[in-house]
């Protein structure tokens, strides 16, 4: 790292310490003086010094080690309650005055001491001639004083609540302290000896260079944040702004966002409008009449039974079906009426026509539009929620969108139908290659399936279409030819959203919705 990028990476505390040294290479500062001059807290200072040492900007000039004595928790306890050696000696002296026999066990029990504490104290008192062990393991005071016991008492008093350098004690006391200091393997001692390190520090060669550069930049203080105050008084000019590590990962935010599937449908919607289509809407609850009868699906059609369509529980039937549509449609089913058809040749059930269902196909919306005097020429579309009695799995949903519509006009015929499908292929699926296959829908004739070569999916079915049968259009009052078309966009949407399960289009996982990018 060159010196200027080293400087850029310095923490404000480090800068503070460096500037305390100035640029004079001969300056040597003991840590206490450094603390005073820089005005830093001891913890901040030692942090900054360690960083600078690690970066080799500072070096240690001299280092002195001073042993310091203090009391341990046990030491403070002994100060309050006397040390074991004092308590054993005092017990022995009491026994001598009363003439009672005193065993080691008695002392242990009376003073509540550990066996190791008692035996340690007895050993030392015996050695000093202050205590004798006589016949029967009894202790006898000799009346002589114990230097150790006295020294410990004095030391406990001197060190209570404070610390002192070891060297400040006379030789004999130093020995007692060392004998009774906490060591590895013996933590239960009253004294502890710690090394206090006193350092003098000076700048290294690199440190001098850094300090010179810092003083040359004239930067006195580094700040981490530009504040309104800095701007107001112009003092930002004398500040240095700490550089950030911009390669770190950015914190996450959750933006407001459209749902990716809705966004996909919005695109489709926009394209359809741009092609001249007018939006139409219809109710979620429909009559069998508009959902099926008007579309010339005979009432015995297999797709109309309870295993394909959801029926409404209450009310079961619509109040009425608008005339003249009901009679005309009924006639078309029975014998064709005036549609030029032979009809399905069965007896049409007017009651059944009023039965309420959940809309099962978007074509129901088109049927309403046909009956509402649509514009000729006219183009209409709807993105309608539909419901099917289906077991829900990866490819079936009970509740889904259908993109459907109609085109009315004098010039509508089989070839303009193909032309419209070509346009959809190009505009909606960006497909250049198309295939038209014969298809079957109860309400169109001729019927076509549109297959396209999708840039990602290869050949796929994009939609179905056809010319509405006269049995559909004439009873609803439309006399021009009408294209009915529908697009199957779920597979395209799933590819665009990168999912493989149709249920994920309506996922309840916010994480998934937030993380999906969408493809447009």
């Amino acid at each position: 790292m060159d010196i200027s990028s080293l400087i850029d990476s310095l923490h404000p505390l480090e800068v503070k310490v460096l500037s305390t040294f100035g640029t004079d290479p001969s300056v040597v500062l003991p840590t206490e003086q450094l603390a005073q001059t820089s005005g830093l807290e001891p913890s901040q200072l030692s942090m900054a010094v360690e960083w600078l040492l690690a970066k080799s900007l500072l070096t240690v000039d001299t280092e002195t080690v001073t042993p310091i004595v203090s009391l341990t928790k046990i030491g403070e306890l002994y100060f309050e309650q006397y040390a074991p050696i004092e308590r054993v000696l005092s017990a022995a002296r009491d026994a001598a005055t009363t003439g009672k026999r005193l065993t080691i066990q008695d002392i242990q029990a009376r003073e509540g001491l550990e066996p190791a504490e008692v035996s340690g104290a007895i050993g030392r008192l015996k050695k000093e001639g202050a205590l004798l062990i006589v016949q029967g393991g009894c202790l006898e005071s000799t009346g002589r004083p114990s230097q150790t016991a006295e020294a410990i008492r004095g030391l406990l008093q001197q060190l209570h609540g404070t610390t002192r350098e070891l060297q400040a004690f006379p030789e004999a006391h130093r020995q007692v302290i060392q004998d009774h200091a906490v060591k590895r393997g013996n933590a239960k001692e009253p004294f502890r000896i710690d090394d206090r390190v006193a350092r003098s520090l000076k700048l290294s060669a690199a440190g001098i260079e850094a300090a010179q550069q810092l003083s040359k930049q004239g930067v006195l203080e580094e700040v981490s944040q530009l504040t309104p105050e800095l701007l107001k008084d112009g003092s930002w000019r004398t500040k240095r702004f700490r550089k950030y590590t911009i390669s770190l990962r950015a914190p996450r935010i959750a933006p407001g966002k459209k749902h990716p599937y809705r966004e996909f449908l919005d695109t489709v919607k926009t394209k359809l409008v741009s092609m001249g289509f007018q939006e139409m809407r219809g109710p979620l609850v429909e009559t069998e009449f508009w959902n099926m009868d008007a579309l010339f699906m005979p009432q015995f059609h297999p797709a109309r039974d309870i295993h394909d369509v959801y029926f409404v529980k209450e009310p079961k039937q619509a109040a009425s079906i608008a005339e003249p549509f009901l009679s005309r449609v009924a006639q078309a089913h029975q014998d064709g009426g005036s549609t030029g058809s032979t009809g399905w040749n069965y007896s049409f059930d007017m009651e059944r026509a009023r039965r309420l269902v959940l809309r099962s196909q978007g074509t129901a919306v088109s049927a309403h539009t046909l009956a509402a005097q649509p514009a000729v020429p006219g183009k209409y579309f709807s993105i309608a929620r539909c419901f099917r009695y289906d077991q829900v799995d990866a490819t079936h949903a009970t509740d889904f969108f259908q993109v459907e519509g109609i085109v009315l006009g004098e010039d509508i015929n089989f070839r303009t139908l193909l032309g419209l499908l070509n346009l959809f292929a190009r505009e909606v699926a960006q497909a250049k290659e198309v295939k038209f296959l014969p298809a079957y829908f109860p309400f169109t004739e001729p019927s076509v399936e549109l297959h396209v070569r999708h840039p990602k999916l290869g050949w796929m079915e994009l939609g179905g279409a056809g010319l509405f049968r006269s049995e559909v259009t004439l009873p609803l009052g439309v006399t021009v030819p009408v294209i009915a078309w529908g697009l199957g966009l779920d597979r395209m949407a799933m590819v665009a959203l990168g999912i493989h399960d149709i249920r994920e289009l309506f996922t309840d996982s916010l994480d998934l919705i937030r993380s999906t990018k969408g493809a447009f």
Partner: protein, 572 residues
């Protein structure tokens, strides 16, 4: 839309036609040719030659079998259909089938024929059974209008009687069983009796087919006798009958079987069915019978519909190559369907067959040239506007199912027995999870919140979409309303946060509103208000009741609002 299984080698044999050499076909050629039958190859096993084909046209039962597919392709290759001789040349003496009086009230119609000289193969037998099942199931509406029986002819003595008997009067061993039982017992214990017995519900006399020796052949439409009604590989003489409730459908079904067996090389001999009552075809009906469904139409009708000038000759050529019989007179054609079809309801049905026969690729696409102005509905415009505003305020849009459960929509919202809890429910419930239309949006938002406690907070969700409000004053018993629901959930979520959003929203849609305190069980009392605009309650806003959050197992506070966009859309 039936899906059938056929075998490639069987198809190739049939492509040649009766008595002709087999014609091979590649898979690519087959896929191309399937356009003629609205078929799609769904799967194949190159080792066994098995092909699975889906047929789309529910009005063309003749195509739901190997023979029918082969026939349509063959006719196209040859340019016309070779006439079926059994429809014109009849022997002097015909076998008889006599219908019992009273049958008109039970299962009025029957058609039958014999087929001799085709030695039944493994593949042929599989096709016979499959065709019988698919036609009875899908064309015959689960045997109600049409059912089919096939028998070994050798064991049958004519005339055959289509009789009505008491349930315990006749007994035989049905297919699939080892013991003799009466018709009544078959209805009670035989799997087919249980499945199809409903067709004969309420009848005190049941139909039975018996031969001249009083030997039972079958109990239509339930089950055949095991003695004579089990065709085996190697049989060379068959008796085929169709019973049902619709005479043209019954005759058509028999025609299809007769054509299929004739295509396999059998000689078909018609049977003379005698009724004690009148039918649309008289009292003596010889079957199979060509019903010659025909129509006369101007060539211009076809040309206009297709958008292409063809001329009578080209039209006739296309239709003939599709199996029709065509007579041209000036600018008109009279077209007659082949005997195995009756699906001619309207001139447009002929138009489509012209297009299919010529191939859709033969028609050059033309763009519709009419100019029209596109646009969105007013409600969609309003919805798009508020969606953009919600996104701008940092809300994530969601989309939910409109079908939900009363538990989620009502009970978990503490709305049992309240006006807010009224639902449009499904009658034929498949799963409780999808048994009612949502009447408001908040449960949809809570559903996402409940599933997303691991997603980092805050959560700001919205959905604009349709709900159904039960309203018995409406013609449909309900109203479909576009609503907007928004919700905020995080540790410190509270009323004023969501109130600010609502306020902003109203500002930018240029409408005014006020909040009026109400009681609403889904929200904390004193922290809920009705959103009132131009004197109408159009929504609600508040802090979700802790019990609601508990029922959804949501562990952070949530505040929400919901407004009916329909009201905003109605204003100028």
């Amino acid at each position: 839309m039936p899906t059938i299984t056929i075998f490639k080698q069987d198809l190739e044999g049939l492509l040649g036609g009766p008595g002709e050499a087999r014609q091979s076909i590649t898979i690519e050629q087959l896929e191309e040719s399937l356009m003629l039958v609205k078929g799609e190859l769904k799967g194949q096993n190159p080792d066994s030659g098995e092909l699975r084909i889906e047929l789309q046209d529910s009005n063309r039962p003749d195509l739901w079998c190997c023979e029918g597919i082969a026939r349509q392709i063959r006719v196209k290759r040859l340019g016309s259909l070779a006439p079926y001789k059994f429809l014109t040349a009849k022997p002097k003496v015909l076998k008889r089938l006599n219908v019992a009086p009273g049958m008109e009230k039970v299962r009025p119609f029957v058609a039958a024929c014999t087929a001799i000289g085709y030695r039944v193969t493994q593949e042929g037998l599989a096709q016979l059974i499959q065709t019988q099942e698919k036609l009875a199931e899908m064309f015959g509406r689960k045997r109600k209008t049409v059912s089919i029986g096939i028998y070994r002819l050798a064991a049958i003595e004519f005339p055959v009687a289509y009789d009505l008997v008491k349930p315990d009067e006749v007994s035989f061993t049905p297919l699939g069983m080892d013991t003799v039982m009466t018709l009544g017992e078959m209805l009670l214990v035989h799997p087919k009796g249980l499945e199809f017995g409903g067709i004969l519900a309420g009848q005190d006399r049941l139909p039975v087919l018996r031969d001249a020796k009083q030997q039972p052949l079958s109990f239509p439409p339930i089950i055949n006798s095991r003695e004579v009604g089990e065709v085996k590989v190697g049989d060379e003489a068959l008796f085929v009958e169709v019973t049902g409730t619709d005479l043209p459908m019954v005759v058509l079904t028999l025609n299809i079987f007769a054509a299929n067996l004739a295509d396999r090389g059998a000689a078909i001999e018609p049977i003379d069915v005698r009724y004690p009552y009148n039918t649309s075809l008289g009292k003596a009906v010889v079957t199979p019978q060509d019903l010659k469904k025909s129509q006369k139409l101007p060539v211009s009708t076809i040309e206009q519909a297709l958008g292409q000038t063809l001329g009578a000759k080209e039209v006739a050529k296309a239709l003939t190559a599709y199996g029709y019989e065509v007579k041209t007179s000036g600018q008109h054609v009279t077209v007659t369907l082949p005997p195995y079809r009756q699906d001619l309801m309207h001139a447009m049905d002929v138009v489509e067959d012209v297009a299919i026969s010529r191939g859709y690729a033969d028609f050059l696409p033309v763009m519709p040239s009419d100019f029209t102005v596109g646009g969105l509905s007013r409600i969609e415009e309003v919805s798009d506007r508020v969606r953009a505003l919600m996104v701008g305020m940092g809300f994530q849009e969601i989309i939910s199912n409109i079908l939900g459960s009363p538990q989620d929509l009502r009970d978990a919202m503490r709305l049992e027995g309240t006006e807010w809890g009224q639902l449009v429910e499904v009658d034929n419930v498949m799963s409780q999870n999808f048994s009612a239309l949502r009447q408001w949006m908040l449960p949809s938002l809570l559903r996402v919140e409940a599933a997303s406690n691991r997603a980092f907070y805050p959560h700001r969700l919205f959905e604009a979409g349709e709900v159904a409000k039960l309203d018995l004053t409406q013609p449909l018993g309900s109203r479909t309303v576009m609503v907007l629901g928004g919700m905020i959930a995080h540790a410190d979520a509270h009323f004023s946060e969501v109130h600010s959003c609502l306020d902003t929203l109203f500002y930018y849609v240029n409408q005014t509103y006020s909040l009026e305190p109400i009681q609403h069980p889904s929200f904390l009392a004193g922290r809920v208000g009705a959103i009132v605009s131009e004197g109408k309650q159009i929504g609600v806003i508040g802090e979700l009741h802790p019990e609601v959050l508990e029922r959804w197992q949501i562990s952070v506070p949530a505040v929400a609002f919901e407004i009916e966009l329909t009201h905003l859309a109605e204003r100028p």
